[in-house]
């Protein structure tokens, strides 16, 4: 009984590897948007010099 439970747990976990990878990429993309692309003046002003140095489109 216990063995069956741990087996099913294992397979469900390995199935979700793709999902976990996608979640990490999504988090990275949201963060990157905030630092490099968000149009709000406050975000732009704080990250201004970094945006220029990464050659992200700015102004």
């Amino acid at each position: 009984m216990q063995q069956t439970a741990s087996l099913s747990k294992t397979s469900s976990l390995s199935l979700s590897v793709g999902l976990q990878v996608v979640a990490a990429i999504f988090l990275g993309a949201v963060l990157l948007y905030g630092v490099g692309f968000a149009p709000m003046d406050v975000a732009h002003n704080a990250a201004h010099d970094a945006r220029h140095a990464f050659a992200f489109p700015c102004h």
């Binding site: 294992t10 976990l13 990878v21 990275g28 490099g36 149009p39 970094a50 050659a55 489109p57």
Partner: protein, 253 residues
């Protein structure tokens, strides 16, 4: 838990790489930005607006949003932004490396292979969209509509990364598609302004800004090379050391 290990690894890699690169920026790139700002023309309408209420009471609104004060505050926010950018790139890179280790039969990632990933990152995120497209710009350079440039930048970055992935992973017969995908944004062409130049048109400003722009090209290129090689190596090491997919089920049981 792969997700957790990816996050932890990315934060550590991002802090390390962001600070090292941030120091380089502070000494070699930021001085060029500060110098270029000396020539910026102040737009009248951004200084403030007079606001009149119904009761006849008038007051002055400051239209300029918050920005860090020059000096340590500005350096702090630039450093913070570098670290955050490094963390976000590290998140994406480590996640894709984990996916590679999980799905691909090609050799597993280590620090050395990570450097190759870093170079691909530099090609996709700096060389293709910036050096071969929208050039690195000092403040005060005239450029096309911001949204169009951001859209093209993203398109170019994705196309270059996707194209390289096709070249590496796809079967021989369709590898050529990868080259086509890499070329696509450049065939389309980046959104460029109608007239090139600087907002400040006085001859000495143009001469100085032209000089600063060429310095800016060299220093951002060196900075980005440093950033991406370091990022790739650290991400490669982290994924080999901390994101072990084959052990994940055992760890959870």
């Amino acid at each position: 838990m792969i997700f957790r290990n990816i996050i932890f690894s990315a934060v550590i890699v991002g802090v390390l790489v962001g600070i090292i690169y941030g120091l380089f920026q502070q000494y070699q790139i930021s001085p060029i930005i500060y110098a270029a700002e000396e020539f910026e023309v102040v737009e009248e309408e951004t200084t403030g607006t007079l606001h009149v209420h119904d009761d006849g009471h008038a007051h002055h609104h400051d239209a300029e949003a918050w920005g860090p004060e020059d000096g340590s505050e500005r350096i702090f926010w630039t450093m913070f932004s570098n670290v955050m950018t490094a963390i976000s790139f590290a998140l994406i890179m480590i996640a894709l490396m984990a996916l590679h280790n999980y799905k691909s039969s090609k050799p597993k990632i280590d620090a050395i292979r990570g450097i190759v990933w870093g170079i691909v990152g530099m090609l996709s995120l700096f060389v293709a969209p910036a050096l071969f497209g929208l050039h690195p710009e000092v403040p005060g350079t005239i450029a096309a509509e911001l949204e169009n440039r951001q859209a093209w930048w993203l398109f170019c970055a994705f196309a270059t990364m996707g194209g390289v992935a096709v070249l590496y992973y796809a079967p021989l017969k369709i590898k050529a598609v990868g080259l086509l995908v890499i070329a696509a944004p450049h065939i389309l062409g980046p959104p460029l302004p109608d007239s090139h130049g600087f907002a400040n048109t006085s001859p000495e400003a143009v001469a100085a800004l032209t000089e600063l722009t060429s310095e800016f090209y060299s220093m951002t290129t060196i900075g980005m090379a440093l950033f991406f090689v370091l990022l790739g190596a650290c991400c490669g090491y982290a994924v080999q050391r901390f994101v072990k997919l084959d052990q994940a089920p055992i760890e959870a049981a």
